[in-house]
């Protein structure tokens, strides 16, 4: 496959970069990169993170300008300008209970709340996997087991399961 690129948009503390990392870590068969927009970390401030997946080594470390998928974890950060960062046929997902024109709305907040998860990152990750087919549920489980603290694993896996079943 050619390089697939995902942009994660959220606020500091929502776990956008963790989602980017888990997606990269989930891609154990091929090559992947994950990085945030660099700088001091501030709770509540807008952050972007990037995941790149490929079956050949990813040598381009520049920020993604044409994404296969953009995941917006906080609907207040959605702007129509984000569509200009999508490839032809790329998908923009917004965590929202309301419809967003041209984008896919997915109410990650409700799923996270049902399972008493304080952040929506793994729920959004699961939805990105389900919608794009870029990673499977099993790959996400393996990434959670490999890279999340033990006490968080079961709850997050349950959330991922819920999204893939839903």
């Amino acid at each position: 496959m050619s390089t697939k690129e995902i942009i994660w948009i959220g606020r500091g503390g929502q776990g956008a970069f963790t989602a980017a990392k888990l997606m990269g870590a989930a891609c154990t068969e091929g090559y992947s990169l994950a990085f945030p927009t660099f700088g001091p970390e501030r709770r509540g401030a807008p952050v972007r993170a990037f995941t790149k997946l490929s079956d050949t080594p990813v040598t381009d470390r520049s920020q993604t300008a044409a994404a296969d998928c953009i995941a917006v974890l906080d609907k207040t950060l959605f702007t129509p300008e984000l569509f200009s960062l999508l490839k032809e046929g790329g998908k923009l997902i917004v965590n929202s209970a309301d419809e967003t024109e041209g984008a896919v709305s997915f109410d990650a907040d409700s799923t996270a709340a049902e399972l008493r998860l304080p952040v929506v990152n793994t729920v959004m990750l699961a939805y990105v996997g389900k919608l794009t087919g870029l990673i499977t549920k099993e790959q996400i489980f393996a990434a959670i087991d490999g890279y999340m603290p033990e006490r968080l694993r079961e709850k997050n896996k349950k959330a991922v399961e819920r999204v893939f079943e839903g």
């Binding site: 990392k21 090559y31 992947s32 994950a34 520049s62």
Partner: protein
């Protein structure tokens, strides 16, 4: 074992495998994660090192020099202002022939204050007698944490070694890395043994003075050690390849340079994007190539001259400028061409200063402008000489 790690984390894993006896370091962004991980490893017992908390970078390097003079393997890490604060100790370590290994996270130097990546910190200290390597990805960073000790501590070299990682773009980017088996690393890297240390049985003078009659001889010996290092680097890479299956290419890494009309010469992670654009240009019928300088010292004079001999034009892309002249990498590359009698036009592109993202369009622009004859020095984004 495969793990998804940042460049900093990967480097710390490499240091755990190399197992220095003494680590003395002071945290500074974007190197901090290395220091944090190493102190955690010492704490949980997976790394048997003496971790010495120091009050400054000047003390960090002084402490490493002292420990090395006691005959043990040492490690320190820093970045930017921290490296500059160490500057007094750098030629001390080199002149004393203490094979300290240092990780430097390449970062801009103040003022204006800036924590992001460029290479003006280490390039400003090129003449202090340290071997300088620039890694391009997290795997190379990890492997260099191990290989640097083999080279620095080799009897023919006995010279301190600085491994440079691009701030953030490498230190804070996550990717899959293979962590070699500990036993096999032991096979590759034997414990440090030296006669260049304090020894009650065989007392000798260490850290002595040398006047005008003999001083230059010591400097000549340092210079010669860098020439021998070229062979030791090759030997280290051959042995590393046999044991771990990963190949490294010595002082420089070439990509499609053999028949290239236009070549970009660069350091560190920027080479990756240059390769992507070179591939694109090749598909469009332009013969583009990339030469990544891995070692600034010892410098790949022969490799550069050979790769550029038949090119129509070449350009250096560097995150550095030596005010009043050109970038330091450019000056070094130009000298390599001059010695070899290669007259390929060579241009200098200064970019990525203070962490500015280098884009696809920037690299395309370099390839296109060198064909047309660019100014000698171009500040990317400003475009004036």
């Amino acid at each position: 074992m495969k793990r998804f790690l940042s460049g900093d984390e990967a480097f710390a894993e490499g240091i755990r495998l190399a197992c220095p006896d003494v680590i003395s370091a002071y945290p500074i962004t974007p190197q901090t994660v290395v220091v944090e991980r190493l102190s955690e490893m010492v704490e949980d017992g997976s790394l048997d090192s003496e971790f010495i908390h120091v009050e400054s970078e000047h003390s960090a390097l002084s402490c490493a020099i002292g420990a090395s003079a006691a005959g043990v393997r040492t490690f320190t890490a820093t970045s930017s202002q921290g490296l500059l604060y160490m500057a007094e100790g750098l030629p001390y370590a080199a002149g004393g022939r203490f094979p300290v290994v240092m990780m430097n996270a390449n970062r801009a130097t103040a003022l204006p204050w800036n924590i992001y990546g460029d290479q003006r910190d280490s390039l400003a200290l090129l003449d202090t007698g340290w071997i300088q390597e620039y890694a391009a990805d997290a795997q190379e960073a990890l492997d260099m944490a191990v290989m640097s000790y083999y080279i620095a501590e080799h009897r023919d070299v006995s010279t301190p070694f600085m491994v440079n990682l691009d701030g953030f773009v490498l230190t804070h980017t996550y990717e899959n890395v293979d962590i070699p088996d500990r036993e096999r690393v032991r096979e590759f890297l034997p414990p440090y043994e030296t006669e260049n240390c304090f020894d009650f049985e065989h007392p000798k003078n260490i850290g002595f003075s040398a006047g005008p009659e003999t001083n230059f001889i010591f400097k000549y010996k340092e210079h010669r050690a860098f020439e021998r290092a070229i062979h030791v680097i090759k030997e280290a890479e051959r042995r590393f390849g046999e044991l771990f299956g990963r190949k490294y290419t010595g002082l420089a890494e070439e990509y499609l340079t053999e028949d290239a009309d236009y070549v970009i010469i660069t350091l560190g992670t920027a080479a990756g994007l240059c390769r992507t654009i070179a591939d694109e240009l090749r598909r469009e019928g332009v013969k583009a190539g990339v030469l990544r300088i891995r070692y600034m010292r010892p410098f790949p004079n022969e490799e550069i001259a050979r790769a550029l001999k038949n090119a129509k034009a070449a350009a250096v892309l560097e995150k550095d400028i030596s005010f009043g002249n050109a970038g330091t990498v450019y000056v070094n590359v130009a000298a390599a061409l001059q010695w070899a009698g290669v007259s390929t036009p060579l241009y200098d592109f200064v970019g990525g200063l203070g962490g500015k993202d280098i884009t696809h369009a920037d690299i395309r622009n370099i390839y296109e402008s060198m064909g047309k004859g660019a100014p000698r020095v171009t500040f990317m984004g400003i475009g004036v000489e």
